[in-house]
Symmetry: C3
Subunit: 144 residues, 3 copies
């Protein structure tokens, strides 16, 4: 079985502010806190959103105008084999009529009023992303 | 950076029963367990739902008839500067055809068959909601 | 109040691979790790999905063709009174246009490129599912 175990250490509550880019902000907050592995979820609102749909080796972007509620955004944090930190998250947003759209979290989702991020650190996790050429993606490699 | 750290203490599994109001029930369960900060998620079903969309300083309600599956409901718990506990959550529901609607969790979402709440406590978190007059909202104030 | 408390022990990151059945895989991973109670969430993609809508004592299946992003899948793990482990999760998926569908996670959701499961164990939880004949469902029985 391909898995990596850890204990949870810190839980960090972070407020994201107007005009922050959601994906970039999560990554920067994780880096500043020296988090190398963990998971998170957040709620809030965005001015606009860019969702990705994975197809033939790349994320096809879906552009949405806001304002939109972030109905759900959850993901994980792990490092690539070259040390680069990866935030992998999916997001669902809702408009004024409650209609929802969802996909992979791409850069371009801009915080509106606020974002409330709950970030849970799992230190010393043997969690690594290794490049898979066939998929053009970094997948978890969890073998001991 | 505006953030507050904590360790996780208890995880509490709570069954919500038919006719409980989701938002009120989560708040009451948190209060009864003396939880002042934490996060949670729940699944289950509702008889009807009221979702909010934040616009010009207030939540515009979106009324939905059920029964509906609670596809996702996640949020956080923190206290206002005056001590009042705030449950901030977003919810996504799905109907018989799998069609989804989502937004801010408002009072008026009534449990149908069951609600399964997983509530994670993060004690001693310096997490406080301070009123922002311009927004007419209590936002996290996390400065030390 | 009907609740069960626990401490969190392990967090396990597991990669699910192409053609695994989501529901069966989560259950099997939990069993292999001797997890009797906990919660989890996962993101990834599926080749197809089967969602359930609970109606008159059974889950009406909603069949969806993929590929689809798993926008959100979260749930809990607990044991029935006869010892059988139950994975109870809800799932939301999104298509190429970001359009979403959601409901109860049924067998038949087949992993496409990858599934990234974060499984949190809460050992020694007095969490038991007891059959309720009237509903034709196993609900949490949390009384001490």
């Amino acid at each position: 079985m391909t898995q990596a175990e850890s204990k949870i250490s810190r839980t960090i509550f972070i407020r994201l502010d107007e005009n922050e880019d959601l994906l970039n902000a999560i990554k920067e907050k994780a880096e500043r806190n020296n988090i190398r592995a963990g998971f998170f979820f957040l709620i809030g609102t965005v001015k606009k959103a860019v969702l990705g749909f994975f197809k033939e080796g790349s994320y096809k972007p879906i552009q949405l105008s806001g304002p939109l509620e972030i109905v759900c955004c959850a993901g994980n944090i792990s490092a690539r084999e070259d040390g680069e930190l990866v935030v992998h998250a999916h997001i669902a947003v809702g408009n004024e009529h409650g209609q929802m759209f969802g996909g992979h979290l791409l850069a371009g989702c801009i915080v509106d009023v606020t974002g409330e991020l709950v970030l849970v650190e799992t230190p010393d996790t043997k969690l690594k992303r290794v490049f898979r050429e066939k998929l053009n993606l970094y997948l978890w490699s969890l073998e001991e």
